[in-house]
């Protein structure tokens, strides 16, 4: 059974993505993709992964980190984890 993501968790995720990628307040983070966001470089990706790990108490494998290149992919990944 797949775990679902609460509104609160999704809100935190959006806040993290907006902050780490330095997106403007009115940007729709749910549409963010690494290829379409200039600030989503390798260093920002490291910061984003660390922020997600710390915020949601998970450890993301290297193979998964490489795949998490969009908001939607991150959301799907976290939905598959039992979040606190």
């Amino acid at each position: 059974m797949r775990a679902t993501m609460t509104d609160a968790a999704e809100s935190r995720l959006q806040e993290i993505v907006r902050a780490t990628l330095e997106l403007p307040p009115d940007a729709d983070v749910t549409e963010a993709r690494q290829l379409g966001v200039e600030s989503w470089d390798s260093l920002a990706h490291v910061s984003l992964m660390l922020a997600i790990e710390g915020e949601f108490g998970v450890s993301i494998d290297l193979a998964d980190q490489i795949q998490l290149t969009s908001y939607a992919a991150i959301r799907r990944y976290l939905q598959g984890r039992a979040l606190p």
Partner: protein, 543 residues
């Protein structure tokens, strides 16, 4: 501290005292930036952190440290042994001796940066050796090296292999906030400069016993019996001296008395291990201040060790920069004491100059230091001791301790005259008085510390006090009390002895200038007036 909390701390921080430092690690440090700024903001500091470029720690260690820059190193096992870096995979084969030599070389480079703050993350190592137990032992040896450099150990769980392989950042997201806090704590910790000079008391510190009372044969500083703990203390001082700590001694004694034990060969330390052995009856604070001036060293670099809380208080009050450490009265406090003392003189490396420092400083001094020096006003400290002075009339009943005190005291002794019990008995039968005093304070009882024999014609013929209670104004309070009694003493039978300088100073203060030996008259009204303040230091009782 997680990401969003760090973000909030930084965005709401109003600014504070700058905290500038270099955060050095061999991996990717940039992800720490936000967390470090947040940890500093939480402490009211504005972090101004600089990082080393990726994978340049080894090069940075080979450059001289900039003394104006605070450095915080986050060390990983592969900073000591590059073959153990997970990012290089498991080496085909390794030579343990080469690994160890390389680790020792890195440790020596770190040791040169005496002011650097070190954190060590004991991340697991790849399987380097065919025998896993050798790998475990090697990991421990790296940890020991780091600890030996004074590094603070971080939890091994803080290491995240996935993140390290992907980005070079060795710390995972669940730990990065906590590691950043440790980094900021290290950067913000006051830089305690190692101390340079250790000034030690002698009696009951460097040796057991009172040299002026018991003589060179009566003291003990050898590795046996009551001298053992003092021998251990001496052995630490010997080590510190070898490492460059400058040793000095101060003692309320006569110079020729205190050097005798050093010349006897019975002590571990010799006279020339000390830059100065200062023996006088001046305030110890004044002697230390004079020594600092003549050595041209800041008082902040001095440590003072004494067993007497009054001496410790006097130096603390007069010289707040001097670190005062009390020599323990009980064996079970000795370990902590020695540990504290050793930690005040840390040395990561010992140079030839360190070993010669005492000789170098001794050349700056041209002999003993003894002049007219003033100490601290101890009134408040003495008031806080809550001292009770109880006067006993020993004219009748048991007078054993009072007579014993007269016959064994050398320093605070009116004339050095020894008396038999029969002689005392004759004076008492003739109408004389034998008084003694016991002292207690909030720390406990000091026992019977003073004795005074007064003849029928109101002449004090014996007056002694234990040197254990010097500087507490006991003698002044007692003589003031005595002067206020019916039939006060008319004077004292004074004589100078080779050892009774402390009494001479007291008598000079109480009765004015002395003109050779003989009867010294006492102006009781003046004594009562001038020493009322001393009486006020005590709860005075009559048994």
């Amino acid at each position: 501290m997680n990401f969003l909390e760090a973000q909030r701390l930084v965005s709401t921080f109003q600014g504070g005292e700058p905290l500038a430092f270099l955060f050095a690690l061999s991996g990717t440090a940039e992800p720490f930036a936000l967390y470090v700024r947040a940890a500093a903001a939480r402490r009211g500091r504005a972090a101004d952190v600089r990082f080393l470029p990726f994978n340049t720690l080894a090069q940075a260690l080979r450059r001289d440290a900039d003394p104006t820059v605070t450095e915080v190193f986050l060390l990983m096992p592969w900073d000591f042994a590059p073959e153990a870096d997970w990012r290089s995979g498991v080496p085909e084969s390794v030579d343990q001796e080469t690994l160890e030599a390389r680790a020792a070389e890195t440790a020596s480079l770190l040791a040169r940066r005496a002011q650097a703050c070190l954190l060590y993350l004991p991340a697991p190592l790849p399987p380097l050796f065919p025998d896993p137990s050798r790998g475990a032992a090697f990991a421990r040896s790296l940890e020991s090296l780091a600890l030996g450099l004074g590094a603070r150990l971080l939890p091994a769980d803080a290491f995240a292999l996935g993140g390290y392989l992907s980005s070079g950042c060795p710390v995972g997201g669940t730990w990065i906030g906590r590691v950043a806090e440790a980094v900021v704590d290290a950067a913000a910790a006051p830089r305690a400069e190692p101390k340079k000079v250790l000034v030690t008391d002698l009696d009951n510190v460097l040796w057991s016993g009172l040299i002026a009372e018991e003589g060179p044969e009566g003291i003990a500083g050898e590795p046996s019996g009551r001298g053992y703990r003092h021998f251990v203390y001496q052995s630490l001082l010997r080590r510190l001296r070898r490492e460059g700590t400058v040793l000095a001694a101060v003692s309320r004694n006569d110079p020729d008395v205190v050097v005798a034990p050093f010349r006897s060969g019975r002590l571990l330390l010799r006279e020339d291990d000390f830059v100065a052995i200062i023996a006088s009856y001046h305030a110890k604070s004044a002697q230390i201040g004079e020594l600092a001036q003549r050595l041209n060293l800041s008082l902040d670099s001095f440590v003072f060790v004494d067993d007497n809380p009054v001496e410790v208080a006097e130096v603390s009050l007069a010289l707040p920069g001097v670190r005062c450490v009390t020599f323990p009265h009980h064996d079970d406090e000795l370990v902590a004491f020695l540990d504290e003392l050793a930690s005040l003189f840390p040395h990561r490396v010992i140079t030839a100059e360190d070993r010669e420092r005492t000789d170098m400083y001794r050349r700056r001094l041209d002999g003993m230091i003894a002049n007219d020096l003033q100490g601290a006003d101890l009134t408040r400290f003495l008031q806080d001791l809550k001292m009770t002075l109880t006067i006993h009339d020993r004219s009748r009943g048991d007078r054993t301790r009072a007579v014993q005190l007269i016959n064994k005291t050398n320093q605070f002794n009116l004339n050095g005259r020894r008396v038999t019990d029969e002689e005392v008995c004759a004076i008492l039968d003739g109408g004389g008085r034998l008084l003694s005093a016991t002292l207690a304070d909030r720390t406990g009882s000091h026992g019977e510390v003073l004795a005074c024999l007064v003849t029928a014609d109101n002449t004090i013929t014996s007056f002694v006090m234990s040197c254990r209670v010097f500087q507490r104004r006991v003698e002044y309070a007692f003589v003031s009390w005595l002067a206020a009694q019916p039939n006060p003493p008319a004077g004292l039978e004074w004589a100078s002895t080779p050892r009774n300088t402390p009494f001479q100073q007291f008598l000079h203060e109480v009765a004015g200038p002395l003109n050779g030996a003989g009867f010294v008259p006492l102006d009781v009204t003046s004594v009562v007036d001038r020493h009322a303040r001393d009486v006020g230091l005590f709860a005075l009782r009559q048994a």
